[in-house]
Amino acid sequence: MNSNSNNQSGFNITFYLLIVPVLIWLIFMIVIPHVEMFISSFLVEDDMGDMVFSFANYIEFFSQKIYWLTFVKTAAYSVGVTILAFIIAFPIAFYLTKVTSKKNAGFLMVLLLIPLWVGELVTVYGWMVLLGDHGVINHALITIGIINEPLNMLYTNFSMVVGLLYMSMLFMVIPVMSTLQSMDDSLIEAACDLGASKWDIYTKIIIPYSMPGITSGAIIVFMLVIGDYLAPNLLGGKNSLWFTEQIYNSFLQTFNWNEGAAFGFLLLMISSAIIWLALKLSGQKLEKVGS
């Protein structure tokens, strides 16, 4: 009886020791800031300088065309970049897991990781050097004589998408690789034996099999892209309005924190809604994708 209760309390202490950091993190870093942001998004300053409850921040968003146009564009471009990331990352993941030797795959993986080591800011500046009017690519093309005038690549939607893809693509490669690694090659042979063409093998066997990896990769890429600030701001320039810039402006240009909070909340809502919709459409479950 005695030893039993000792055991019980021993278990409790370990349990609390493990759970407390998690709870502290969740409450102070996630729950409180979001509740605070949620509350402050419904507050505006009245004529007396007091904070009062109001929908004005949200009404402002819907009444100003520029805000919700930026909002829709950000969401649409994020979906597009996610799809492009899949189109680029899937062959890479397939090559690394199923085609090349293990030794080669390790080396190529390191090459893929290098851009992550230097940080997003540096890679974004790298792209600016490459894509600028007097940048490496334009200079090379003019020297060869393919073009006479420099191509306008930097500060366009194109350069922004390139930057976003470059920064997020790896997060698609890795989860897809891990599901492909678990796939038995005999599945491909069995499909081949049953008369499947190459196209059938990709669309009916390999991609459906790696769907959990693709979905988790897509969620990560989408979240990174929709919430990114550097690439749209530096590579997209003034033409490429990104919703994070609107949030930034509310907080730090106009110092309207309540409006910024409302915008932040709207971004959280749309990204959650798009992920929910994508999971529903692809028939994937979040629990399965996470594992």
Binding site: D184, E189, C192, D193, G195, A196, S197, P208, M211
Partner: protein, 350 residues
Amino acid sequence: MGKILEVKNLSKHFDDFTAVKKVDFSVEEGGFFSILGSSGCGKTTLLRIIAGFQQESEGEVIIHGQSMKGIPPEKRPVNIVFQNLALFPMMNVGQNIAFGLKRKKLKAAEINFKVNEMLERVGLNGYENKKVTELSGGQKQRVAIARSLVMNPSILLLDEPLGALDRKLREHMKVELKLLQKEIGTTFVYITHDQSEALVMSDQVAVMHDGQFEQIDTPRNLYKNPKTAFVAGFVGDTNRFEIESKEGDSIITQGGWKLKLPNHSEAADELYIRPEALILNPDNNLNDVVQFEVTITTILFDGSNTKLSTMVSGSNEELLISLPQNAQFDSIEEGHKLNVGVHSDDVKCF
């Protein structure tokens, strides 16, 4: 019935070794042909060459009188059941079986009909919408076989399909597979390392060793009249002795056992006697029976498979003897001496 599959002088070289060496055989239409060999003997390579997943280095595979040279796996009239079954986990049972038919672009109604017919044949009616992961080992087995059979192949290749099952289920599936093959009449080429699977199911068995066929024969002949030492040692239980020297019509083993064996081959250096070839308390007047005395060291009771472990008197040789489970020998105990005989034809020398 003609020959459906002919393999002619087939070899497969890899960088530093030869997996298949000059293999030559043919299979009758509707037959059950097994290739028996331990792992690494080249049997899987041979099967993959027939299926078209690997290219032969020399020789030829002929199906229905037609050379398969350069024909890709999806165009060959063969289907394969993989060792690990390779069922598609993201599809249900019906979709798995329908996969090949859909690739043939058959009409939905026809596919449906064939899938149901096949499910019935393998005893899985009503399982169409089950997930593959919900099935037991034996059921998965049947789905894999159904998925290949529904394609109506000329030859069904099976790569140790029972390997992953537990013993009891394997015994059961063995019989089931044999009956299924008889019923549908498709030619089966079956590879296995389990001699009992090969012997029970096959019309013809090829014993493969080190990339070569040692012997192609009916199961009964393989067991009764092995042509090489490897076959004698590999198929069935046996007692093996190394021959030390010969004196006239007698043979002396390394353990010092002297056997009177007329007309033995001069070149032989190994001797094989099956446990069940030994006769307990033989009649003294029997012709051609070599007789000797043994001392029982242990009784290895295993139901109908019970054996006596004995020492041959006057020597150092151990000898396993099958003990029939009839009341006649109930009184036998450890330490007893026993007269034993063996028909000289049942002593195989190589």
